[in-house]
Every structure is written in structure tokens, then in C-alpha cells.
């Protein structure tokens, strides 16, 4: 059976790894190639790079970063942020990424998900969903959390699966960067609604939080940024804890 995955997330802006709270208040963390190499050595299962400043100029910088990482690090690499066209997907894949994460453009033009998964295969199309709690349900946010839609997040997860997405990267806007734990209810609800893997993101503050989202939350993978970037834990620390608690990890 598959091991639960621990995935460090590197938010890249202008060639540097940054970290924010609720998608804002950015702080510099360091060089992406060095960090990628370091997390790989710590036994990370995959790496996710999110282009948070996605303008065409900065995009080129990110592609260079991916190119550099893919020559040194031999685990799967996912790239997201500002992917708007088949051409963008192609550029990212041909620079060494294994998967591409589509968010806003997928919400605005779901055909992009369909076309990209037909052309490159479902296995390399990840749909990122930013969800915000809205009473008893969750709505989808776009444009890096700046704009609300009236789309129900659980329904959208089912829709992206139908469109051909191979995985869902689910971020709780409410939990992101707070270190108060993942939104377990949201994660579980979506994990139980689809048959594709869920990568849970937003809110990891302790080892227990990660254990909870992978067990109670039924996520297949946990995305972690701050805890690793600030050196609170290494990837191996997290895996040792999970193993001790009966979770299969690599």
C-alpha cells in the first residue's frame, strides 16, 4: 500500500523562497535550490514550488530554479502559481517538473484542466483548491486568496476529478500560516468525496496536526512550509513521529 507523503512547500518569488500568513505578510526564507537539496536529504517524498509572484519575467526565474533543482534532486517536483495555458504547462514540464498545479485558471476555464490532463496525462495535473469556511460549508477562493467565488469547494473537488485532475492540493485559507492545525473537517469531507489523492495544506503547527490530517482527515499527503522553513522540525522528525503512531511512511 502507498506510504503517506510529506511534502515541503517552497513559495518562490523572484528567485527566493518566501513564507506568508494567510497568503500575505511575506518573509524571505532562502535559496530554492539549496532548500530543495536540503529537504531531499531530509527524506522529503516530493517538493512543491509555488510561484507566488507569477509575472512573465519572474516566471522565467522560476523555470531556471526548477531546471536547477531537477538536476540535483531525484524526487517528484510539482510547480504551480499563475499557470494559465497549455503553453505554460508545457514550459513547466519541459523544465524538469513532473506535475503542474492549476488553480485560478482552472476555476475560470475548467476546459484547461480537461485539455491539460488529456495532453499530458492525469498523473501530472494537480488541481489546487483554496477553500474558505463559509458557515457550514466552504467556498473556493481564486487569485491567491484575494477573490471569493460562489463555488462550493466540495462540489468543485468532484468537478476537477471529472475534468481529469490526478490529485488535489487542498489549502484551507482560514488555517494557512496560523500553525493552529489543518482544517480536518474540510480535508476529510473532500477526501471522502473523490477517488484521487488529497494533499492537505495550511495550518500545520505540530506533529500531532500532521498525524491528525493524515488519519482523521484522510489525506494522502501533507504539505508543510513554515515548520520546515523555520527549522522547528525536519522531514525525518515528522516521519519518525508518524511511524511511531502507526502511519506508513517511506
Amino acid at each position: 500500500m502507498l506510504a503517506k507523503r510529506i511534502i515541503p512547500c517552497l513559495d518562490v518569488d523572484n528567485g527566493l523562497v518566501m513564507k506568508g500568513i494567510k497568503f500575505q505578510k511575506l518573509e524571505k526564507i532562502g535559496d530554492p535550490v539549496e532548500l530543495a537539496d536540503c529537504y531531499n536529504k531530509q527524506n522529503a517524498d516530493e517538493l512543491v514550488f509555488l510561484d507566488i509572484g507569477a509575472s512573465p519575467n519572474k516566471r522565467k526565474t522560476l523555470l531556471n530554479v526548477i531546471n536547477g533543482v531537477s538536476k540535483k534532486v531525484f524526487i517528484p517536483l510539482t510547480v504551480g502559481g499563475g499557470i494559465r495555458s497549455i503553453k505554460n504547462v508545457q514550459a513547466v514540464l519541459s523544465n524538469g517538473a513532473d506535475k503542474v498545479s492549476i488553480n485560478t485558471a482552472g476555476v475560470l476555464y475548467p476546459q484547461l484542466i480537461t485539455r491539460a490532463s488529456k495532453k499530458f496525462g492525469s498523473q501530472c495535473i494537480v488541481c489546487a483548491i483554496d477553500a474558505q469556511r463559509n458557515g457550514k460549508s466552504w467556498i473556493v477562493l481564486i487569485n491567491g486568496g484575494r477573490d471569493r467565488t460562489d463555488i462550493d469547494a466540495v462540489q468543485w473537488a468532484k468537478d476537477v476529478e471529472k475534468c481529469g485532475a490526478g490529485e488535489i492540493l487542498l489549502t484551507s485559507w482560514d488555517a494557512d500560516g496560523t500553525r493552529k492545525g489543518y482544517d480536518i473537517e474540510l480535508t476529510r469531507k473532500i477526501a471522502e468525496s473523490v477517488n484521487i489523492p488529497i494533499i492537505a495544506s495550511g495550518g500545520a503547527g505540530s506533529l500531532e496536526d500532521i498525524l491528525d490530517v493524515l488519519t482523521e482527515g484522510k489525506a494522502d499527503a501533507a504539505l508543510i512550509a513554515s515548520l520546515f522553513h523555520y527549522g522547528t522540525y525536519t522531514v525525518q522528525n515528522v516521519k519518525d513521529f508518524l511511524k511511531k503512531n502507526g502511519v506508513d511512511v517511506r
Binding site: L2, A3, S70, P76, S94, G96, F120, G121, C124, A221
Partner: protein, 202 residues
């Protein structure tokens, strides 16, 4: 010693190139019809069986000729599946028929299988030298070949062929170029097999 990676217009083959490059082996992309210029050949595979079957159909003879030459060959993912007789992915497609058996959908609800799974080693082989049973490797697949005669198997819904090999013809269903240290070790074992074949010629 020079290793060729067959470029037939599919998927992310750069990472296979990067991995051999990292292992400090001379490696080049090659057209399917030029494979005889190399000491060993890798057939990478990303995407659907159908595309590989259609694109490689004109070169079946070249590839089968290479396989019977005794030079090392490694098929990755669809590259392994293509060594078999047939795949049932989106229809019915013929492979090389070098190995007997068929490629079928894994009997599991969650597909594709995306992630790290254990390999269970069934037979000793130079490709798996210093690899322990229970090692994790990275998979992205919905289809797989039957486990009979496999060098190693994995379990996802059912047991399937993770590593196959006969003589110097090998295949891995997982992606060694994305399986971290273990994957690099397996690729390095393939390089060693090639080195031995090259040396024994002189």
C-alpha cells in the same frame, strides 16, 4: 560506454537524462532507429500505452533486434509495459511481445496509483544488487503487468510486476529517476551491468 535514451516525443524524459548525468555516465537522446549506436538503451515512458504503441510501431523490428543483441535495455513505466504482448489501456494495443503476458488495470478504487510503494524482491538479480525488499519506490500508474516471473512485485489492489528482467533486458514499473536514493542505486546497477557487458567484449 554510452547509454542512449529513446526519444519518441513523449513525456518528461529529461529527468531520466539528468539522473544518468548525475551518475556521471555518458548519456544521449536517440531516435528509435539509431539505438544500435549505443552500449545500452533506456525506453522511458510517461503517458498512455496507446501513444507509445502508435509512435514506436514503425521501429518494432529495431527494438526487438536490440533486445536480442545481448546489450542491456531498461524500460521504465510504459517502457516496461511495452515489452509485453498487449495492453488493455483504452482499448487493446499490441506491445513488443518480448515478455509473455498482458498489461491490465489495477483493481483499486483510487487510480492512478500516485506515490511511494514498497517493492517485494522475488528473485536475486544484478539490477537489484544492494536493494532490500521493502524499499519504497515512486509510482504513477493505473495499469500494470502480471506478477508471474517478476524480479520484484508491489501491491496495489493486487500484486503486480514492479521489476522484470530476463538476461540483460529489464523493466521497472516505477520511476527510478524519481525514487530518490533507491532509484539512483537501481540506475547505477543498470550502468554496472552495461559496464560488465562492455568489458567482457574485450
Amino acid at each position: 560506454m554510452k547509454i542512449g535514451i529513446i526519444n519518441y516525443g513523449m513525456g518528461n524524459i529529461q529527468s531520466v537524462y539528468n539522473a544518468f548525468n548525475y551518475l556521471k555516465v555518458e548519456v544521449e537522446f536517440t531516435k528509435p532507429e539509431d539505438i544500435n549506436n549505443f552500449d545500452a538503451v533506456v525506453l522511458p515512458g510517461v503517458g498512455a500505452f496507446k501513444d507509445t504503441a502508435i509512435l514506436l510501431k514503425p521501429y518494432k523490428k529495431d527494438i526487438l533486434g536490440f533486445l536480442s543483441s545481448g546489450k542491456p535495455f531498461l524500460g521504465i513505466c510504459i517502457g516496461l509495459q511495452y515489452l509485453y504482448e498487449k495492453s488493455y489501456e483504452n482499448g487493446e494495443w499490441n506491445g513488443l511481445g518480448y515478455f509473455r503476458g498482458q498489461v491490465k488495470k489495477l483493481p483499486e478504487k483510487k487510480l492512478p496509483q500516485i506515490g511511494w510503494n514498497k517493492i517485494i524482491i522475488q528473485r536475486k538479480n544484478p539490477l537489484l544488487r544492494n536493494i532490500s525488499s521493502g524499499s519504497y519506490v515512486y509510482y504513477i500508474n493505473s495499469y500494470a503487468a502480471n506478477k508471474e516471473k517478476a524480479l520484484a512485485t508491489s501491491l496495489y489492489g493486487d500484486e503486480f510486476a514492479a521489476v522484470v528482467g530476463s538476461g540483460n533486458v529489464f523493466g521497472t514499473q516505477f520511476h527510478p529517476e524519481k525514487s530518490g536514493e533507491i532509484g539512483l542505486k537501481i540506475l547505477n546497477n543498470f550502468v554496472e551491468v552495461t559496464r560488465n557487458v562492455c568489458n567482457s567484449k574485450y
